[in-house]
Symmetry: C2
Subunit: 327 residues, 2 copies
Protein backbone atom coordinates (compact mmCIF):
# COMPACT_ATOMS: atom_id res chain seq x y z
CA UNK A 1 0.00 0.00 0.00
CA UNK A 2 0.96 3.62 -0.54
CA UNK A 3 0.74 6.04 2.41
CA UNK A 4 0.69 9.83 2.01
CA UNK A 5 1.40 12.08 5.00
CA UNK A 6 0.70 15.81 4.71
CA UNK A 7 2.35 18.05 7.27
CA UNK A 8 5.02 15.36 7.46
CA UNK A 9 7.73 17.77 8.62
CA UNK A 10 5.86 18.60 11.82
CA UNK A 11 6.48 16.91 15.15
CA UNK A 12 3.65 14.38 14.86
CA UNK A 13 4.37 13.83 11.14
CA UNK A 14 8.00 12.94 11.84
CA UNK A 15 7.07 10.57 14.63
CA UNK A 16 4.37 8.92 12.53
CA UNK A 17 6.88 8.45 9.70
CA UNK A 18 9.39 6.85 12.09
CA UNK A 19 6.74 4.47 13.39
CA UNK A 20 5.57 3.44 9.91
CA UNK A 21 9.17 2.93 8.74
CA UNK A 22 9.62 0.51 11.65
CA UNK A 23 6.23 -1.21 11.25
CA UNK A 24 6.39 -1.43 7.43
CA UNK A 25 2.69 -2.15 7.62
CA UNK A 26 -0.59 -0.46 8.44
CA UNK A 27 -3.92 -2.10 9.31
CA UNK A 28 -2.46 -5.51 8.43
CA UNK A 29 -1.23 -4.51 4.95
CA UNK A 30 2.42 -4.05 3.97
CA UNK A 31 3.54 -0.51 3.12
CA UNK A 32 5.29 -0.46 -0.25
CA UNK A 33 5.61 3.27 -0.63
CA UNK A 34 5.37 6.46 1.38
CA UNK A 35 5.04 10.07 0.25
CA UNK A 36 5.93 12.79 2.74
CA UNK A 37 4.55 16.20 1.92
CA UNK A 38 4.94 19.55 3.65
CA UNK A 39 5.38 23.22 2.83
CA UNK A 40 9.14 22.57 3.00
CA UNK A 41 10.35 19.14 1.87
CA UNK A 42 10.38 16.83 4.93
CA UNK A 43 13.60 15.07 5.91
CA UNK A 44 13.97 11.61 4.42
CA UNK A 45 13.56 8.92 7.08
CA UNK A 46 16.68 6.83 7.65
CA UNK A 47 15.22 3.37 6.98
CA UNK A 48 13.08 2.35 4.02
CA UNK A 49 14.48 5.34 2.12
CA UNK A 50 14.25 3.83 -1.38
CA UNK A 51 10.51 3.71 -0.95
CA UNK A 52 9.98 7.19 0.44
CA UNK A 53 9.38 10.22 -1.72
CA UNK A 54 9.47 13.69 -0.18
CA UNK A 55 7.74 16.68 -1.67
CA UNK A 56 7.38 20.41 -0.91
CA UNK A 57 3.88 21.63 -1.69
CA UNK A 58 1.19 24.02 -0.51
CA UNK A 59 -2.09 22.11 -0.81
CA UNK A 60 -4.08 25.33 -1.13
CA UNK A 61 -2.11 26.42 -4.23
CA UNK A 62 -3.75 25.72 -7.58
CA UNK A 63 -3.21 22.18 -8.85
CA UNK A 64 -1.08 21.05 -5.90
CA UNK A 65 -3.67 18.86 -4.22
CA UNK A 66 -4.29 17.10 -7.53
CA UNK A 67 -0.58 16.31 -7.83
CA UNK A 68 -0.51 15.09 -4.24
CA UNK A 69 -3.12 12.40 -4.92
CA UNK A 70 -2.18 11.65 -8.55
CA UNK A 71 -0.47 8.41 -7.48
CA UNK A 72 -3.59 7.40 -5.58
CA UNK A 73 -2.32 6.77 -2.07
CA UNK A 74 -4.43 4.18 -0.23
CA UNK A 75 -4.18 5.93 3.12
CA UNK A 76 -3.74 9.66 3.62
CA UNK A 77 -2.78 11.14 6.98
CA UNK A 78 -3.76 14.78 6.64
CA UNK A 79 -1.83 16.55 9.38
CA UNK A 80 -0.96 19.76 7.50
CA UNK A 81 -2.12 23.03 8.97
CA UNK A 82 -1.08 26.19 10.72
CA UNK A 83 -1.30 26.13 14.50
CA UNK A 84 -3.77 27.84 16.77
CA UNK A 85 -1.72 30.95 17.52
CA UNK A 86 -0.85 31.62 13.88
CA UNK A 87 -4.45 31.08 12.72
CA UNK A 88 -5.50 33.71 15.25
CA UNK A 89 -2.87 36.32 14.34
CA UNK A 90 -3.05 35.73 10.56
CA UNK A 91 -6.75 35.35 9.77
CA UNK A 92 -6.30 34.90 6.02
CA UNK A 93 -3.48 32.40 6.24
CA UNK A 94 -5.42 30.30 8.74
CA UNK A 95 -8.44 29.98 6.45
CA UNK A 96 -6.26 29.47 3.39
CA UNK A 97 -4.14 26.69 4.84
CA UNK A 98 -6.49 25.01 7.30
CA UNK A 99 -9.79 25.26 5.41
CA UNK A 100 -8.96 25.81 1.73
CA UNK A 101 -6.00 23.41 1.82
CA UNK A 102 -8.13 20.63 3.28
CA UNK A 103 -10.99 21.33 0.90
CA UNK A 104 -8.58 21.27 -2.06
CA UNK A 105 -7.34 17.87 -0.94
CA UNK A 106 -10.89 16.49 -0.61
CA UNK A 107 -11.84 17.96 -4.00
CA UNK A 108 -8.75 16.42 -5.64
CA UNK A 109 -9.78 13.02 -4.26
CA UNK A 110 -13.36 13.48 -5.47
CA UNK A 111 -12.08 14.54 -8.88
CA UNK A 112 -9.66 11.62 -9.27
CA UNK A 113 -12.44 9.31 -10.45
CA UNK A 114 -12.12 5.64 -11.34
CA UNK A 115 -13.51 4.49 -8.01
CA UNK A 116 -10.63 6.02 -6.05
CA UNK A 117 -11.72 6.12 -2.40
CA UNK A 118 -8.84 6.39 0.06
CA UNK A 119 -8.96 6.23 3.83
CA UNK A 120 -8.27 9.76 5.02
CA UNK A 121 -7.27 10.32 8.66
CA UNK A 122 -7.64 13.97 9.61
CA UNK A 123 -6.17 15.50 12.76
CA UNK A 124 -8.75 17.74 14.34
CA UNK A 125 -8.44 19.26 17.78
CA UNK A 126 -10.27 19.72 21.06
CA UNK A 127 -10.21 23.42 20.06
CA UNK A 128 -13.48 22.67 18.18
CA UNK A 129 -15.06 23.02 21.63
CA UNK A 130 -15.49 26.34 23.45
CA UNK A 131 -16.50 27.40 26.96
CA UNK A 132 -18.80 27.31 28.87
CA UNK A 133 -18.44 23.56 29.33
CA UNK A 134 -20.20 20.85 31.31
CA UNK A 135 -18.01 19.06 33.91
CA UNK A 136 -17.14 16.39 31.30
CA UNK A 137 -17.65 17.03 27.58
CA UNK A 138 -19.64 14.18 26.05
CA UNK A 139 -19.33 12.92 22.48
CA UNK A 140 -22.56 14.71 21.53
CA UNK A 141 -21.62 18.15 22.89
CA UNK A 142 -21.92 20.90 20.29
CA UNK A 143 -18.99 22.48 18.47
CA UNK A 144 -18.63 26.08 19.60
CA UNK A 145 -15.02 27.00 18.88
CA UNK A 146 -13.67 30.26 20.31
CA UNK A 147 -10.67 30.51 18.00
CA UNK A 148 -10.37 30.74 14.22
CA UNK A 149 -8.26 27.57 14.36
CA UNK A 150 -11.08 25.71 16.12
CA UNK A 151 -13.64 27.06 13.62
CA UNK A 152 -11.47 25.86 10.71
CA UNK A 153 -11.01 22.41 12.24
CA UNK A 154 -14.77 22.12 12.89
CA UNK A 155 -15.56 23.13 9.30
CA UNK A 156 -13.10 20.51 8.03
CA UNK A 157 -14.81 17.87 10.19
CA UNK A 158 -18.11 18.77 8.51
CA UNK A 159 -16.56 18.60 5.03
CA UNK A 160 -14.91 15.28 5.82
CA UNK A 161 -18.19 13.82 7.07
CA UNK A 162 -20.10 15.01 4.00
CA UNK A 163 -17.50 13.73 1.52
CA UNK A 164 -17.50 10.42 3.38
CA UNK A 165 -21.30 10.18 3.44
CA UNK A 166 -21.37 10.89 -0.30
CA UNK A 167 -18.90 8.05 -0.92
CA UNK A 168 -16.03 10.18 -2.28
CA UNK A 169 -13.60 8.99 0.39
CA UNK A 170 -13.48 7.16 3.69
CA UNK A 171 -12.75 9.71 6.40
CA UNK A 172 -11.95 9.59 10.11
CA UNK A 173 -11.36 12.74 12.16
CA UNK A 174 -9.51 12.50 15.45
CA UNK A 175 -9.58 15.34 17.94
CA UNK A 176 -6.22 15.35 19.62
CA UNK A 177 -5.73 16.30 23.28
CA UNK A 178 -2.84 18.64 24.08
CA UNK A 179 0.26 16.68 23.18
CA UNK A 180 2.85 16.66 25.97
CA UNK A 181 5.77 16.42 26.44
CA UNK A 182 6.63 18.13 23.13
CA UNK A 183 10.34 17.68 22.37
CA UNK A 184 12.54 20.55 21.28
CA UNK A 185 12.74 24.18 22.30
CA UNK A 186 10.04 26.17 24.08
CA UNK A 187 7.61 27.73 21.60
CA UNK A 188 5.26 30.67 21.94
CA UNK A 189 2.04 28.68 22.01
CA UNK A 190 -0.09 29.60 25.02
CA UNK A 191 -0.17 25.88 25.84
CA UNK A 192 3.63 25.59 25.68
CA UNK A 193 4.10 25.56 29.44
CA UNK A 194 2.30 22.19 29.81
CA UNK A 195 5.34 20.64 28.09
CA UNK A 196 7.86 23.17 29.34
CA UNK A 197 7.34 22.46 33.04
CA UNK A 198 8.36 18.84 32.42
CA UNK A 199 10.88 19.14 29.58
CA UNK A 200 13.04 21.97 30.91
CA UNK A 201 13.49 20.66 34.47
CA UNK A 202 14.45 17.21 33.13
CA UNK A 203 17.08 18.95 30.97
CA UNK A 204 18.48 20.81 33.97
CA UNK A 205 16.87 24.11 33.06
CA UNK A 206 14.42 26.43 34.72
CA UNK A 207 10.81 26.42 33.48
CA UNK A 208 8.23 29.19 33.86
CA UNK A 209 4.72 28.29 35.03
CA UNK A 210 2.32 31.12 34.06
CA UNK A 211 -0.91 29.63 35.52
CA UNK A 212 -2.24 28.35 38.83
CA UNK A 213 -1.59 24.78 39.99
CA UNK A 214 -5.34 24.17 39.86
CA UNK A 215 -5.58 24.42 36.05
CA UNK A 216 -7.06 21.19 34.69
CA UNK A 217 -6.17 19.92 31.22
CA UNK A 218 -6.41 16.96 28.82
CA UNK A 219 -3.12 15.38 27.77
CA UNK A 220 -1.63 12.61 25.67
CA UNK A 221 1.97 11.80 24.75
CA UNK A 222 3.37 12.15 21.21
CA UNK A 223 3.63 8.32 21.20
CA UNK A 224 -0.11 8.08 21.93
CA UNK A 225 -0.88 10.62 19.20
CA UNK A 226 0.90 8.41 16.68
CA UNK A 227 -0.97 5.43 18.11
CA UNK A 228 -4.30 7.22 17.58
CA UNK A 229 -3.42 7.90 13.93
CA UNK A 230 -2.36 4.33 13.23
CA UNK A 231 -5.43 2.91 14.98
CA UNK A 232 -7.74 5.31 13.10
CA UNK A 233 -6.26 4.18 9.77
CA UNK A 234 -7.29 0.60 10.51
CA UNK A 235 -10.89 1.18 11.64
CA UNK A 236 -13.68 -0.14 9.44
CA UNK A 237 -16.13 2.47 8.21
CA UNK A 238 -19.02 0.41 9.58
CA UNK A 239 -17.61 0.84 13.10
CA UNK A 240 -17.84 4.60 12.77
CA UNK A 241 -21.22 5.13 11.18
CA UNK A 242 -22.04 8.70 10.19
CA UNK A 243 -20.25 10.34 13.10
CA UNK A 244 -16.70 10.00 11.88
CA UNK A 245 -14.98 12.55 14.11
CA UNK A 246 -13.98 11.39 17.54
CA UNK A 247 -12.59 12.98 20.66
CA UNK A 248 -9.49 10.99 21.60
CA UNK A 249 -8.94 9.69 25.14
CA UNK A 250 -6.55 11.64 27.33
CA UNK A 251 -5.12 11.95 30.80
CA UNK A 252 -7.03 14.59 32.75
CA UNK A 253 -4.99 16.23 35.48
CA UNK A 254 -4.15 19.56 37.08
CA UNK A 255 -0.85 21.36 36.74
CA UNK A 256 -0.29 20.53 40.43
CA UNK A 257 -0.72 16.82 39.62
CA UNK A 258 1.70 17.18 36.68
CA UNK A 259 4.31 18.61 39.06
CA UNK A 260 3.66 15.92 41.68
CA UNK A 261 4.20 13.27 38.96
CA UNK A 262 7.49 14.93 37.96
CA UNK A 263 8.57 14.91 41.63
CA UNK A 264 7.72 11.18 41.99
CA UNK A 265 9.71 10.27 38.90
CA UNK A 266 12.63 12.70 38.96
CA UNK A 267 12.84 13.96 42.53
CA UNK A 268 12.53 17.24 44.42
CA UNK A 269 15.52 18.88 42.82
CA UNK A 270 14.13 18.50 39.28
CA UNK A 271 10.64 19.60 40.34
CA UNK A 272 12.24 22.59 42.08
CA UNK A 273 13.32 24.01 38.70
CA UNK A 274 9.76 25.21 38.04
CA UNK A 275 9.33 28.90 38.73
CA UNK A 276 5.85 30.36 39.20
CA UNK A 277 5.28 33.59 37.29
CA UNK A 278 1.54 34.12 36.82
CA UNK A 279 0.61 35.65 33.45
CA UNK A 280 -2.92 37.02 33.22
CA UNK A 281 -3.14 36.68 29.43
CA UNK A 282 -2.17 33.01 29.47
CA UNK A 283 -4.51 32.39 32.44
CA UNK A 284 -7.37 33.91 30.45
CA UNK A 285 -6.64 31.94 27.25
CA UNK A 286 -6.33 28.66 29.14
CA UNK A 287 -9.59 29.31 31.01
CA UNK A 288 -11.42 29.09 27.64
CA UNK A 289 -10.05 25.62 26.87
CA UNK A 290 -11.84 22.38 27.55
CA UNK A 291 -10.33 20.32 30.30
CA UNK A 292 -12.18 17.03 30.68
CA UNK A 293 -13.95 14.74 28.24
CA UNK A 294 -16.05 11.65 28.38
CA UNK A 295 -14.37 10.07 25.32
CA UNK A 296 -16.48 6.93 25.47
CA UNK A 297 -16.83 6.35 21.73
CA UNK A 298 -13.08 6.43 21.15
CA UNK A 299 -12.48 4.07 24.06
CA UNK A 300 -15.15 1.68 22.74
CA UNK A 301 -13.42 1.77 19.35
CA UNK A 302 -10.14 0.69 20.90
CA UNK A 303 -8.18 3.96 21.11
CA UNK A 304 -5.83 3.89 24.12
CA UNK A 305 -3.77 6.44 26.00
CA UNK A 306 -1.44 6.58 28.99
CA UNK A 307 -3.06 5.72 32.33
CA UNK A 308 -1.48 8.59 34.27
CA UNK A 309 0.69 11.65 33.85
CA UNK A 310 3.56 9.61 35.33
CA UNK A 311 3.33 7.44 32.22
CA UNK A 312 3.42 10.50 29.97
CA UNK A 313 6.66 11.66 31.65
CA UNK A 314 8.17 8.17 31.33
CA UNK A 315 7.37 8.14 27.60
CA UNK A 316 9.25 11.43 27.23
CA UNK A 317 12.28 10.12 29.12
CA UNK A 318 12.33 6.93 27.04
CA UNK A 319 11.59 8.39 23.61
CA UNK A 320 13.44 11.69 23.78
CA UNK A 321 16.09 11.47 26.49
CA UNK A 322 17.42 7.93 26.01
CA UNK A 323 16.21 7.01 29.49
CA UNK A 324 18.25 9.69 31.31
CA UNK A 325 17.64 13.13 32.77
CA UNK A 326 19.62 15.82 34.64
CA UNK A 327 19.12 15.15 38.36
CA UNK B 1 -31.30 52.67 7.91
CA UNK B 2 -30.50 50.60 4.84
CA UNK B 3 -31.64 46.95 4.73
CA UNK B 4 -30.23 44.38 2.29
CA UNK B 5 -32.09 41.11 1.70
CA UNK B 6 -30.32 38.33 -0.23
CA UNK B 7 -32.53 35.58 -1.63
CA UNK B 8 -35.26 38.23 -1.69
CA UNK B 9 -37.18 36.50 -4.50
CA UNK B 10 -37.83 33.40 -2.41
CA UNK B 11 -40.97 32.79 -0.38
CA UNK B 12 -39.56 34.03 2.94
CA UNK B 13 -37.72 36.90 1.24
CA UNK B 14 -40.92 38.17 -0.37
CA UNK B 15 -42.86 37.96 2.88
CA UNK B 16 -40.07 39.68 4.82
CA UNK B 17 -40.02 42.48 2.23
CA UNK B 18 -43.81 42.92 2.54
CA UNK B 19 -43.55 43.13 6.30
CA UNK B 20 -40.71 45.69 6.25
CA UNK B 21 -42.54 47.81 3.66
CA UNK B 22 -45.49 47.95 6.06
CA UNK B 23 -43.40 48.49 9.21
CA UNK B 24 -41.03 51.05 7.61
CA UNK B 25 -38.82 50.39 10.64
CA UNK B 26 -36.63 47.70 12.14
CA UNK B 27 -35.43 47.42 15.73
CA UNK B 28 -36.84 50.88 16.46
CA UNK B 29 -35.04 52.62 13.57
CA UNK B 30 -36.73 53.95 10.42
CA UNK B 31 -35.92 52.18 7.17
CA UNK B 32 -34.83 54.69 4.53
CA UNK B 33 -33.73 52.26 1.89
CA UNK B 34 -33.99 48.58 0.95
CA UNK B 35 -31.97 46.54 -1.51
CA UNK B 36 -33.47 43.26 -2.72
CA UNK B 37 -30.98 40.86 -4.22
CA UNK B 38 -31.45 37.44 -5.82
CA UNK B 39 -30.14 35.36 -8.70
CA UNK B 40 -33.01 36.83 -10.74
CA UNK B 41 -34.06 40.40 -9.93
CA UNK B 42 -36.80 40.24 -7.26
CA UNK B 43 -40.17 41.86 -7.94
CA UNK B 44 -40.43 45.43 -6.71
CA UNK B 45 -42.72 45.69 -3.68
CA UNK B 46 -45.83 47.80 -4.28
CA UNK B 47 -45.38 50.32 -1.46
CA UNK B 48 -42.20 52.25 -0.63
CA UNK B 49 -41.03 51.64 -4.19
CA UNK B 50 -38.95 54.78 -4.58
CA UNK B 51 -36.73 53.54 -1.79
CA UNK B 52 -36.30 49.98 -2.99
CA UNK B 53 -33.54 48.87 -5.34
CA UNK B 54 -33.67 45.41 -6.88
CA UNK B 55 -30.62 43.62 -8.17
CA UNK B 56 -29.82 40.31 -9.88
CA UNK B 57 -26.53 38.88 -8.61
CA UNK B 58 -24.79 35.61 -7.78
CA UNK B 59 -22.90 36.26 -4.54
CA UNK B 60 -20.40 33.50 -5.32
CA UNK B 61 -19.36 35.15 -8.60
CA UNK B 62 -16.18 37.26 -8.49
CA UNK B 63 -16.73 40.80 -7.24
CA UNK B 64 -20.49 40.44 -6.73
CA UNK B 65 -20.48 40.28 -2.94
CA UNK B 66 -18.34 43.43 -2.86
CA UNK B 67 -20.89 45.25 -4.98
CA UNK B 68 -23.70 43.99 -2.75
CA UNK B 69 -22.23 45.63 0.35
CA UNK B 70 -20.67 48.67 -1.35
CA UNK B 71 -23.48 50.89 -0.07
CA UNK B 72 -22.91 49.59 3.45
CA UNK B 73 -26.33 48.28 4.44
CA UNK B 74 -26.87 48.45 8.22
CA UNK B 75 -28.79 45.18 8.40
CA UNK B 76 -28.34 42.24 6.04
CA UNK B 77 -30.82 39.38 5.91
CA UNK B 78 -28.86 36.62 4.20
CA UNK B 79 -31.52 34.20 2.98
CA UNK B 80 -29.92 33.24 -0.36
CA UNK B 81 -29.19 29.57 -0.96
CA UNK B 82 -30.15 26.47 -2.86
CA UNK B 83 -32.56 24.16 -1.07
CA UNK B 84 -31.90 20.82 0.50
CA UNK B 85 -32.89 18.65 -2.46
CA UNK B 86 -30.86 20.60 -4.99
CA UNK B 87 -27.78 20.69 -2.74
CA UNK B 88 -28.00 16.90 -2.58
CA UNK B 89 -28.43 16.28 -6.31
CA UNK B 90 -25.96 18.98 -7.43
CA UNK B 91 -23.01 18.69 -5.05
CA UNK B 92 -20.92 21.43 -6.66
CA UNK B 93 -23.73 23.95 -6.94
CA UNK B 94 -24.69 23.43 -3.30
CA UNK B 95 -21.17 24.18 -2.05
CA UNK B 96 -20.74 27.07 -4.47
CA UNK B 97 -23.99 28.84 -3.58
CA UNK B 98 -24.50 27.90 0.05
CA UNK B 99 -20.91 27.89 1.31
CA UNK B 100 -18.86 29.99 -1.14
CA UNK B 101 -21.63 32.57 -1.62
CA UNK B 102 -21.94 33.09 2.13
CA UNK B 103 -18.20 33.22 2.61
CA UNK B 104 -17.87 35.76 -0.21
CA UNK B 105 -20.47 37.95 1.50
CA UNK B 106 -18.65 37.73 4.85
CA UNK B 107 -15.30 38.46 3.19
CA UNK B 108 -16.75 41.46 1.36
CA UNK B 109 -17.96 42.85 4.70
CA UNK B 110 -14.56 42.21 6.30
CA UNK B 111 -12.85 43.89 3.38
CA UNK B 112 -15.09 46.99 3.37
CA UNK B 113 -13.07 48.62 6.13
CA UNK B 114 -13.72 51.97 7.79
CA UNK B 115 -15.35 50.38 10.83
CA UNK B 116 -18.19 48.88 8.78
CA UNK B 117 -19.86 46.25 10.99
CA UNK B 118 -23.41 45.38 9.94
CA UNK B 119 -25.90 43.15 11.72
CA UNK B 120 -26.14 40.01 9.60
CA UNK B 121 -29.10 37.67 10.12
CA UNK B 122 -28.43 34.28 8.54
CA UNK B 123 -31.11 31.65 7.95
CA UNK B 124 -29.76 28.30 8.97
CA UNK B 125 -31.84 25.15 9.28
CA UNK B 126 -32.64 22.30 11.63
CA UNK B 127 -30.95 20.19 8.90
CA UNK B 128 -27.67 20.95 10.74
CA UNK B 129 -28.79 18.13 13.05
CA UNK B 130 -28.76 14.45 12.07
CA UNK B 131 -30.10 11.23 13.60
CA UNK B 132 -29.86 9.48 16.00
CA UNK B 133 -31.50 12.06 18.24
CA UNK B 134 -32.38 12.36 21.92
CA UNK B 135 -36.14 12.73 22.64
CA UNK B 136 -35.76 16.53 22.59
CA UNK B 137 -32.74 18.19 20.97
CA UNK B 138 -31.17 20.65 23.39
CA UNK B 139 -29.37 23.85 22.44
CA UNK B 140 -26.01 22.20 23.12
CA UNK B 141 -26.57 19.08 20.96
CA UNK B 142 -23.82 18.56 18.39
CA UNK B 143 -24.15 19.33 14.69
CA UNK B 144 -24.12 16.11 12.72
CA UNK B 145 -25.85 16.89 9.42
CA UNK B 146 -26.80 14.00 7.15
CA UNK B 147 -27.23 16.09 4.00
CA UNK B 148 -24.84 18.32 2.06
CA UNK B 149 -27.29 21.18 2.66
CA UNK B 150 -27.07 20.64 6.41
CA UNK B 151 -23.26 20.46 6.25
CA UNK B 152 -23.13 23.74 4.30
CA UNK B 153 -25.47 25.48 6.75
CA UNK B 154 -23.42 24.22 9.72
CA UNK B 155 -20.18 25.45 8.11
CA UNK B 156 -21.76 28.85 7.53
CA UNK B 157 -22.80 28.99 11.20
CA UNK B 158 -19.16 28.40 12.16
CA UNK B 159 -17.94 31.10 9.76
CA UNK B 160 -20.55 33.55 11.01
CA UNK B 161 -19.57 32.91 14.63
CA UNK B 162 -15.87 33.35 13.88
CA UNK B 163 -16.35 36.57 11.87
CA UNK B 164 -18.54 37.87 14.69
CA UNK B 165 -16.05 36.92 17.40
CA UNK B 166 -13.29 38.67 15.44
CA UNK B 167 -15.40 41.84 15.25
CA UNK B 168 -15.84 41.92 11.46
CA UNK B 169 -19.63 41.89 11.68
CA UNK B 170 -22.45 41.25 14.12
CA UNK B 171 -24.03 37.91 13.21
CA UNK B 172 -27.09 35.96 14.31
CA UNK B 173 -27.95 32.56 12.86
CA UNK B 174 -31.49 31.27 13.16
CA UNK B 175 -32.29 27.62 12.52
CA UNK B 176 -35.72 27.57 10.98
CA UNK B 177 -38.22 24.76 11.62
CA UNK B 178 -40.06 23.37 8.59
CA UNK B 179 -42.14 26.26 7.33
CA UNK B 180 -45.77 25.31 6.79
CA UNK B 181 -48.14 26.03 5.20
CA UNK B 182 -46.03 27.06 2.19
CA UNK B 183 -48.18 28.92 -0.35
CA UNK B 184 -48.13 28.09 -4.05
CA UNK B 185 -47.88 24.85 -5.97
CA UNK B 186 -46.68 21.53 -4.60
CA UNK B 187 -42.89 21.20 -4.98
CA UNK B 188 -40.64 18.17 -5.08
CA UNK B 189 -39.07 18.65 -1.68
CA UNK B 190 -39.37 15.53 0.45
CA UNK B 191 -40.93 17.72 3.12
CA UNK B 192 -43.51 19.13 0.70
CA UNK B 193 -46.35 16.99 2.00
CA UNK B 194 -46.32 18.72 5.41
CA UNK B 195 -47.71 21.79 3.61
CA UNK B 196 -49.54 19.88 0.89
CA UNK B 197 -51.88 17.99 3.21
CA UNK B 198 -53.22 21.33 4.50
CA UNK B 199 -52.93 23.58 1.43
CA UNK B 200 -54.48 21.29 -1.19
CA UNK B 201 -57.57 20.20 0.82
CA UNK B 202 -58.32 23.84 1.72
CA UNK B 203 -58.16 24.63 -2.02
CA UNK B 204 -60.59 21.82 -2.83
CA UNK B 205 -57.90 19.49 -4.16
CA UNK B 206 -56.67 16.07 -3.23
CA UNK B 207 -53.37 15.78 -1.32
CA UNK B 208 -51.07 12.78 -1.13
CA UNK B 209 -49.71 11.72 2.27
CA UNK B 210 -46.60 9.55 1.74
CA UNK B 211 -45.78 8.83 5.41
CA UNK B 212 -47.46 7.36 8.48
CA UNK B 213 -49.73 9.46 10.71
CA UNK B 214 -47.26 8.91 13.56
CA UNK B 215 -44.48 10.99 11.95
CA UNK B 216 -43.52 13.78 14.36
CA UNK B 217 -42.16 17.10 13.07
CA UNK B 218 -41.26 20.68 14.02
CA UNK B 219 -43.27 23.44 12.34
CA UNK B 220 -43.70 27.20 12.14
CA UNK B 221 -45.77 29.39 9.83
CA UNK B 222 -44.25 31.70 7.20
CA UNK B 223 -45.53 34.59 9.33
CA UNK B 224 -43.53 33.26 12.31
CA UNK B 225 -40.44 32.83 10.11
CA UNK B 226 -40.63 36.52 9.20
CA UNK B 227 -41.17 37.31 12.87
CA UNK B 228 -38.00 35.35 13.79
CA UNK B 229 -35.97 37.34 11.25
CA UNK B 230 -37.26 40.71 12.43
CA UNK B 231 -36.75 39.80 16.08
CA UNK B 232 -33.21 38.52 15.37
CA UNK B 233 -32.32 41.81 13.66
CA UNK B 234 -33.13 43.70 16.86
CA UNK B 235 -31.27 41.56 19.39
CA UNK B 236 -28.26 43.07 21.12
CA UNK B 237 -25.00 41.18 20.67
CA UNK B 238 -24.53 41.04 24.44
CA UNK B 239 -27.74 38.98 24.71
CA UNK B 240 -26.28 36.33 22.43
CA UNK B 241 -22.74 35.96 23.72
CA UNK B 242 -20.49 33.69 21.66
CA UNK B 243 -23.21 31.21 20.68
CA UNK B 244 -24.90 33.24 18.00
CA UNK B 245 -26.84 30.47 16.22
CA UNK B 246 -30.16 29.53 17.72
CA UNK B 247 -32.75 26.85 17.13
CA UNK B 248 -36.07 28.64 16.66
CA UNK B 249 -39.17 27.60 18.58
CA UNK B 250 -41.71 25.49 16.73
CA UNK B 251 -44.93 23.54 17.03
CA UNK B 252 -44.15 19.86 17.53
CA UNK B 253 -46.89 17.55 16.32
CA UNK B 254 -47.56 14.37 14.40
CA UNK B 255 -49.07 14.17 10.94
CA UNK B 256 -52.15 12.69 12.64
CA UNK B 257 -52.38 15.80 14.84
CA UNK B 258 -51.99 18.03 11.77
CA UNK B 259 -54.96 16.26 10.16
CA UNK B 260 -57.04 16.47 13.35
CA UNK B 261 -56.38 20.24 13.44
CA UNK B 262 -57.48 20.55 9.82
CA UNK B 263 -60.67 18.64 10.65
CA UNK B 264 -61.40 20.92 13.63
CA UNK B 265 -60.97 24.06 11.57
CA UNK B 266 -62.32 23.07 8.14
CA UNK B 267 -64.47 20.01 8.71
CA UNK B 268 -64.55 16.34 7.72
CA UNK B 269 -65.06 16.98 4.05
CA UNK B 270 -61.85 19.02 3.73
CA UNK B 271 -59.85 16.57 5.84
CA UNK B 272 -61.24 13.77 3.67
CA UNK B 273 -59.28 15.10 0.66
CA UNK B 274 -56.06 13.59 2.04
CA UNK B 275 -55.16 10.31 0.35
CA UNK B 276 -52.68 7.98 2.01
CA UNK B 277 -50.06 6.61 -0.41
CA UNK B 278 -47.02 5.44 1.58
CA UNK B 279 -43.69 6.12 -0.16
CA UNK B 280 -40.72 4.23 1.27
CA UNK B 281 -38.13 6.73 0.05
CA UNK B 282 -39.90 9.69 1.65
CA UNK B 283 -40.47 7.65 4.84
CA UNK B 284 -36.74 6.93 4.98
CA UNK B 285 -35.68 10.55 4.37
CA UNK B 286 -38.11 11.89 6.96
CA UNK B 287 -36.94 9.35 9.53
CA UNK B 288 -33.51 11.04 9.49
CA UNK B 289 -34.94 14.46 10.34
CA UNK B 290 -35.11 15.95 13.80
CA UNK B 291 -38.61 16.19 15.23
CA UNK B 292 -38.54 17.84 18.62
CA UNK B 293 -36.36 20.53 20.17
CA UNK B 294 -35.92 22.12 23.53
CA UNK B 295 -35.48 25.64 22.08
CA UNK B 296 -35.04 27.25 25.47
CA UNK B 297 -32.48 29.88 24.48
CA UNK B 298 -34.62 31.26 21.67
CA UNK B 299 -37.67 31.38 23.95
CA UNK B 300 -35.65 33.19 26.63
CA UNK B 301 -34.52 35.69 23.99
CA UNK B 302 -38.12 36.48 23.10
CA UNK B 303 -38.67 34.51 19.87
CA UNK B 304 -42.30 33.40 19.62
CA UNK B 305 -44.23 30.94 17.47
CA UNK B 306 -47.78 29.66 17.10
CA UNK B 307 -49.15 27.81 20.13
CA UNK B 308 -50.70 24.95 18.14
CA UNK B 309 -51.01 23.55 14.64
CA UNK B 310 -54.56 24.97 14.58
CA UNK B 311 -52.97 28.44 14.74
CA UNK B 312 -50.63 27.58 11.86
CA UNK B 313 -53.63 26.61 9.70
CA UNK B 314 -55.47 29.82 10.68
CA UNK B 315 -52.43 31.90 9.66
CA UNK B 316 -52.51 30.22 6.24
CA UNK B 317 -56.23 30.89 5.79
CA UNK B 318 -55.79 34.54 6.84
CA UNK B 319 -52.57 35.36 5.00
CA UNK B 320 -53.00 33.34 1.81
CA UNK B 321 -56.69 32.61 1.33
CA UNK B 322 -58.29 35.89 2.39
CA UNK B 323 -60.06 34.09 5.24
CA UNK B 324 -61.90 31.59 2.99
CA UNK B 325 -61.43 27.97 1.93
CA UNK B 326 -63.25 25.43 -0.27
CA UNK B 327 -65.62 23.52 2.05
Amino acid sequence: MHVLITGAAGMIGRKLTERLVIDRALGGRAIEKMTLLDIVAPARASGFSDHIKTRAADLAAAGMAGKAVAERPDVIFHLAGVVSGEAETDFEKGYRVNLDGTRALLEAIRGAGGGYKPRLVFTSSIAVFGAPFPPAIADDFHLTPLTSYGAQKAMCELLLADYTRRGFLDGVGIRLPSIVVRPGKPNKAASGFFSGIIREPLAGQEAILPVADSVLHWHASPRSAVGFLVHAAGLAHAQLGDRISLTMPGVCCTVGEQIAALRRIAGDRVAGRIRRAPDELVERIVAGWPSRFDARRAADLGFTVEKSFDDIIRVHIEDELGGKFVE
